[in-house]
C-alpha cells in the first residue's frame, strides 16, 4: 500500500526522459518517444514522465518555430498517441516542453496532461515567462512571453512548471511554492559552457546550485529534465535530475547520452523538510510587508 499523507498517497514513481531530438523532425521524435514509453512500461508504469524543453523539435529553431509549433490540444493529442502506441491503455501523467502556436501567437510552453484509459485531459500549459534573449539565446525575437505562473493539482499533488530561465529568477519558485506547489517540474535546454571547472562545465555546476537552493529553500521536489546532444556546435548539458526537498540530488543523469532517469518522490519528505527548515512558513508571514513596499516597481491596483 502506498504511503499516505492526510489520507492521500504520497509516494510516486517518476521518470525523466533525457533526449536528443532530431532537429525539426517532430513526427520522428514523437515516434521515438513512443519507443521510450514502451521501454519504460516494460519495467513498470510510473505516475509521471517528464520530457525536456523543445523535446520533440530541438531547442534552437529560429524562424522554424513557426513551422513546428502546435496548439496545446494538438500537441497533447500527439503525445498521448505516442503513449498509446508504446503503452496501450495504461494510465499516466505526462509533462513535456513544446513550442506552442496559440492562434498565431507563439510560446515556449510546457504541457501537463493526465492520460486515462480511454481519454486524456490537459491539466495545465505553462508558457515560459523569462525568454532568454542575450548571447547565444534569441527567444524573444521569435516568441511571446507567458503572463501567469500557476500551480495545479495532479496525481502527485500540487505542481508548478518552470521552463529553463524561469527557475533562474528566485521569485518564480518562491511564488510557485507560496501558491502551494510541492513539486517543481523544470523542462530545460541548457547549452553548456565554461571549461575552467573542477570536473564538469561550470554551467552544469551553476544549474545544480540553483536547483538545490530552490528545492531546499522552499521544501519542494525539483524534477529537472534536460536536453542532451549538440545543436549546431552548442552542446546541451543533460544532467536530468531529481532533487529532494532538502536539496539533495537523489539521482542525476550524465551530461551526454539519451537516458531515462528513474526515481521516486515522497511528499512526506516535503513536510519534514519544511518542519525542519520552515522558511516557506516564515515567508508567508513576511510576504505582505515585502510586497506592499511602495518602493517596489509594482503596478498600483490590478491591471484591467
Amino acid at each position: 500500500m502506498a504511503a499516505r499523507t492526510n489520507g492521500v498517497p504520497s509516494n510516486f514513481d517518476v521518470r525523466l526522459v533525457q533526449v536528443k531530438p532530431s532537429k525539426g523532425r517532430y513526427a520522428e521524435n514523437l515516434a521515438q518517444a513512443g519507443n521510450i514509453f514502451e521501454q519504460i512500461v516494460a519495467e513498470k508504469t510510473p505516475d509521471l514522465i517528464v520530457f525536456p524543453e523543445g523535446a520533440m523539435t530541438g531547442y534552437f529553431l529560429e524562424g522554424a518555430v513557426y513551422d513546428l509549433a502546435r496548439s496545446a490540444p494538438v500537441f497533447a493529442g500527439d503525445l498521448v498517441r505516442a503513449w498509446r502506441e508504446g503503452a496501450g491503455d495504461r494510465e499516466v501523467e505526462l509533462a513535456s516542453g513544446f513550442y506552442e502556436n496559440d492562434d498565431g501567437t507563439y510560446y515556449n510552453s510546457a504541457l501537463y496532461v493526465r492520460v486515462g484509459r480511454k481519454d486524456h485531459e490537459i491539466l495545465h500549459v505553462h508558457r515560459k515567462m523569462f525568454l532568454p534573449t542575450y548571447g547565444v539565446f534569441d527567444e524573444a525575437r521569435f516568441l511571446s512571453r507567458g503572463r501567469r505562473l500557476q500551480t495545479f493539482e495532479t496525481r502527485i499533488g500540487r505542481v508548478a512548471m518552470l521552463i529553463c530561465e524561469d527557475v533562474w529568477h528566485a521569485i518564480m519558485p518562491t511564488i510557485a511554492a507560496i501558491k502551494g506547489a510541492r513539486v517543481l517540474i523544470v523542462p530545460s535546454a541548457a547549452p553548456g559552457r565554461g571549461i575552467e571547472g573542477e570536473s564538469e562545465l561550470t554551467s552544469i555546476t551553476r544549474w545544480r546550485e540553483i536547483l538545490r537552493t530552490t528545492a531546499s529553500e522552499h521544501g519542494v521536489y525539483v524534477l529537472y529534465a534536460g536536453l542532451t546532444g549538440f545543436e549546431g556546435g552548442k552542446g546541451m548539458t543533460g544532467s536530468s535530475s531529481i532533487i529532494d526537498p532538502r536539496g539533495v540530488v537523489t539521482v542525476e543523469a550524465p551530461e551526454f547520452g539519451e537516458c531515462v532517469v528513474s526515481g521516486t518522490i515522497d511528499l512526506r519528505e516535503a513536510d519534514l523538510a519544511r518542519a525542519t527548515l520552515p522558511l516557506l512558513g516564515d515567508l508567508n508571514a513576511v510576504l505582505p510587508d515585502l510586497l506592499l513596499d511602495e518602493e517596489l516597481p509594482l503596478p498600483k491596483g490590478r491591471p484591467s
Partner: protein
C-alpha cells in the same frame, strides 16, 4: 590589530585556464555528434601542418572517430620547412592515422608565375586557399568531412586567410585560445616538440606568429579574455595590462571583425536569407 583580507586582481593578468579533461570529453562528443549523428559521416580529413593546432585537432578526431577514420593531409609548398613535415610525421606515427603528402608547389606556382611581383602576404594567401582546394577535393574523394584547425586567438586577431583556414564546416578548437590549445596538447599527449616550438605560418624562413603579431600569445590571450567580456581599454590598463599591448590587440580585433562573418549581402526583400529567413544550421 585585526587581520585584513584583501581582494586581488593579479590572476586577471594570466591567460584563461582550461580543464583539459572536461574540454576533451566535450569536444569528442561534439565531433561524434556533428559528423556521425548529424551528417552520417564517419571520417574526417585534416590538413596537418606540423603545428600544434592541427595536431590537437587530429588527436581529438582520432579519439572521436578512431585513427583509421582520420585522414591527415600534409600539403607542403617548396619553401615549407622540412621540420614541419617531420613534426607532422610524429603525429601520424603516434596516432596511427591515415596520411598522405600532396605537394602544392605546382598548383600554387601555376598561378603565381603570372604574378611574379606578388608579395609574401599574397603568396601566403594563395597557398592557404590552394590547401583548401586540396582538402575539399580530398573530402569528396574520401567521403570525409574537413575539420577546421583555427583557434580562437587567431580568429580574433584576424591572423588567418579568409575563406581558406576558416572554411571547414566544423571546428573543435575555434573557441579555445592558443594558450588553452597548448594546455590541451599536453593533456592529449601531442609530441613535446610541437608544443615547444614557436608557432609559425611557415610561409617564410624564420617567420613566427608572435613576431608577425607583435605580441606573445600569453599576453594576447589574457587581454582578449577580458576584452571579450566588455572591458574598455582604460579598464584593461587599470587592471595592469600594458597600454601598447591593449591598443594592438584592440586594433587587430576591430579591423578584422569582417573576417568572422559571411559575405555582406545587399538586402532587398523581407525574405532575405539570414536576415528574415532564419533557420539554424542543423535544421
Amino acid at each position: 590589530m585585526i587581520a585584513v583580507v584583501r581582494a586581488s586582481h593579479t590572476g586577471l593578468l594570466a591567460p584563461p585556464g582550461i580543464n583539459s579533461e572536461i574540454a576533451t570529453r566535450w569536444l569528442v562528443a561534439f565531433l561524434q555528434d556533428e559528423l556521425i549523428v548529424r551528417r552520417g559521416i564517419t571520417r574526417a580529413v585534416i590538413g596537418l601542418s606540423g603545428g600544434v593546432d592541427s595536431a590537437v585537432t587530429a588527436y581529438l578526431c582520432a579519439r572521436a572517430l578512431g585513427p583509421e577514420n582520420v585522414y591527415a593531409i600534409r600539403m607542403p609548398y617548396k619553401t615549407s620547412s622540412p621540420a614541419s613535415l617531420a613534426d607532422a610525421q610524429l603525429v601520424i606515427d603516434a596516432l596511427g592515422v591515415r596520411a598522405r603528402t600532396i605537394e602544392i608547389t605546382a598548383a600554387v606556382d601555376g598561378y603565381l608565375q603570372f604574378e611574379p611581383d606578388a608579395d609574401a602576404r599574397r603568396r601566403g594567401n594563395v597557398m592557404a586557399r590552394t590547401r583548401m582546394v586540396v582538402l575539399f577535393d580530398q573530402s569528396a574523394k574520401l567521403d570525409a568531412l574537413p575539420v577546421g584547425t583555427g583557434n580562437k586567438t587567431e580568429r580574433l586577431l584576424g591572423y588567418f586567410t579568409w575563406h581558406a583556414d576558416d572554411t571547414p564546416p566544423v571546428n573543435p578548437i575555434g573557441d579555445l585560445f592558443k594558450t588553452q590549445v597548448w594546455e590541451l596538447a599536453r593533456y592529449l599527449g601531442v609530441p613535446q616538440v610541437l608544443i615547444d616550438k614557436a608557432p609559425s605560418a611557415d610561409l617564410e624562413a624564420d617567420q613566427t606568429d608572435e613576431g608577425d603579431l607583435g605580441i606573445t600569445y600569453a599576453r594576447a590571450d589574457a587581454i582578449l579574455a577580458q576584452l571579450l567580456l566588455g572591458y574598455s581599454d582604460l579598464q584593461l590598463i587599470e587592471r595592469g595590462f600594458d597600454a601598447h599591448d591593449v591598443a594592438l590587440v584592440r586594433r587587430r580585433v576591430d579591423s578584422t571583425h569582417w573576417k568572422r562573418h559571411l559575405p555582406t549581402t545587399a538586402m532587398l526583400t523581407n525574405t532575405a536569407i539570414n536576415e528574415f529567413y532564419l533557420r539554424p544550421v542543423d535544421y
